[in-house]
Amino acid sequence: MNPTLDKFLGGKQGAIGLAVLATLILVVFPLALDAFRLNMVGKYLTYAFVAVGLVLCWGYGGILSLGQGMFFGLGGYCMAMFLKLEASDPESTKIQSTPGIPDFMDWNQITELPMLWQPFHSFGFTLLAVIGVPVILALVIGMAMFKRRVGDVYFSIVTQAIALILTVLIIGQQGLTGGVNGITDLKTLLGWDIRDDSSKMILYFINAFLLFGCILLGRFILASKLGRLLMAMRDKEERVRFSGYDVASFKIFVFCVAAAFSAIGGAMFALQVGFMSPSFVGIVPSIEMVIFAAVGGRMSLLGAVYGALLVNFGKTYFSETFPELWLYLMGGLFIAVVMYFPNGIAGLWESHGRKLLGKLSRKPAPLAAPAPPPEAPATSSQPRELETTP
């Protein structure tokens, strides 16, 4: 096989895992679920972008960011600003005292579109900003932290603080951001109504393809020397530094990649759900996203997607049934993951599921580890079964 293609697919194992997940997301869900539930899955999959990014920067790079919500949020806000401007044409806002500006600005006695919003009339600029703004923020945070060798728990706390600051800032600038309600009532994308069922279906598929794009890109990074360097840095940072590498630059890179993935998720969230608010920026959503990655398996790109789906299905189910208990369950789940199955679903699959599958197919069980090929040392373990589909 073409070696580059092989890098993207992650070998035979990786290709099978990917095919199973693709079947689930692209065939099973669209056929089995009604439009409302499918849209909900689409929403969960936007969180999967963040979880996939966290596998790269936390699982492999050892950088635990508890502020990924800020990148998700910024990507989402950039997209929402564009959509809001489109929804606020003078015709449909003629009852406002200043027609042609977003409704919440009008409520805040703003009479002119702020400078910050002007470029978001352009779709091209918006697409650029969706990725660019979060990546620049990640770059600044990364340079400030990693060049000074702020790491481990200190880094986590700083990211948490920045996420909090960003939330406070967004809520405080009501006239500019829509405050605590966020940017709501998004209607069309370049004249195309994004609210009806058929467009939601199309957006679901766009979202899924982008997610697979991110997974493949992630695989490419992990299969490269850079992927091995990330693991090496996580375990023996000094050795890497004294082998002639600028450790900080690799950390900044992977942190920026994770930020870009999160931002794409955020933008797709705004498109599919039709609003963006500060409740996706702060500490709680950021930590939830870490839990998705942890439950799925922080060393597995595909596991992260299952984690995001599973935890969110659980959240929806339990918060509909026992609304008070959900937070405790979520906390319990995280503790259980950390204490009993640190590699998440993917780890469980590696240790138990594969064996089970071997027994079921009645073939002699394959040898535990038939000397992995040198190209694929610690390739992420992928759960290949459909874990649960409520």
């Binding site: 490269s224 360097l229 082998s243 590498y245 040392p377």
Partner: protein, 253 residues
């Protein structure tokens, strides 16, 4: 001390002059002068707390000097960043074997190949025939040819030490610094390590910290005794061992 006829004598690879570092007023290294020549194997010995490891830390940039200079091939190291020092040709082995346990021996060695050291370079790094050849050559040198595709944490303690030395050799450093390379090794492993050092010291300078006197005897061209951050004695192994000051320091108290 400056050397009066510098133009006649070969310039030292490493020239440390007036090097001082103090931690909260405690001088771990105090006005140290040390010169290492090309192709020389120098062993630094001294009681615990003499400042041996600190000297290595200072050379490789892990610790910053309070005063003094470290000239390596006419470049001042005290102001350079760690990875620039490595790229200039200084390799350093840590006291505890510091290898990447999750990777194979091959990958461990490949990681130190001096290409693809920047983000984009590493992303698009290709395992060319040249890389493979170099890895195999170094693996043969460090006696790990048969274990190339073994995960590194399955190696014995001694083999891990060799692997780390091999990782340094991948970079072909002009100055190789080893912190207690035979600590925890069996007698036969020590002998093999001594042979290894004698082989690899051709064409480069080696600075070793070691406690094991038998081993020191088998490799050292010259021995420097450190005591309280200062050079107490310097010379051949025999001369140093019969030096009354050295005996006093080792047997005193």
């Amino acid at each position: 001390m400056s050397q009066p006829s510098a133009f006649q004598m070969p310039k030292p690879v490493l020239a440390i002059e007036g090097l001082t570092v103090s931690f909260d007023g405690f001088k771990a290294v105090d006005d140290l002068n040390l010169y290492i020549d090309r192709n020389e194997v120098r062993v630094v010995i001294g009681p615990n707390g003499a400042g041996k490891t600190t000297v290595l830390d200072l050379i490789c940039g892990k610790t910053r000097a309070t005063a003094g200079s470290i000239q390596f091939e006419n470049r001042e190291l005290t102001k350079m960043r760690e990875f620039d020092i490595v790229r200039a040709g200084v390799g350093r082995k840590f006291q505890n074997p510091s290898i990447y346990e999750n990777l194979t021996v091959f990958e461990n060695l490949e990681m130190s190949y001096p290409k693809g050291r920047k983000v984009w370079g590493a992303l698009f790094f290709k395992r060319t025939a040249e890389v493979i050849e170099r890895v195999e050559q170094i693996a043969a040198e460090i006696m790990l040819s048969d274990n190339l595709h073994l995960q590194a944490d399955l190696l014995s303690h001694g083999q891990k030490q060799w692997l780390e030395i091999g990782m340094l050799l991948m970079q072909d450093p002009a100055l190789l610094m080893l912190d207690e390379p035979v600590a925890g090794m069996s007698v036969s492993e020590r002998a093999q390590t001594a042979e290894l050092l004698n082989r690899i010291s051709k064409g480069r300078s080696v600075l070793v910290i070691e406690h094991d006197m038998e081993f020191v005897k088998s490799i050292a061209h010259k021995v420097t005794v450190l005591h309280q951050g200062k050079v107490l004695a310097e010379g051949s192994m025999d001369a140093v061992q019969s030096n009354p000051k050295v005996i006093e320091v080792y047997l005193g108290h």
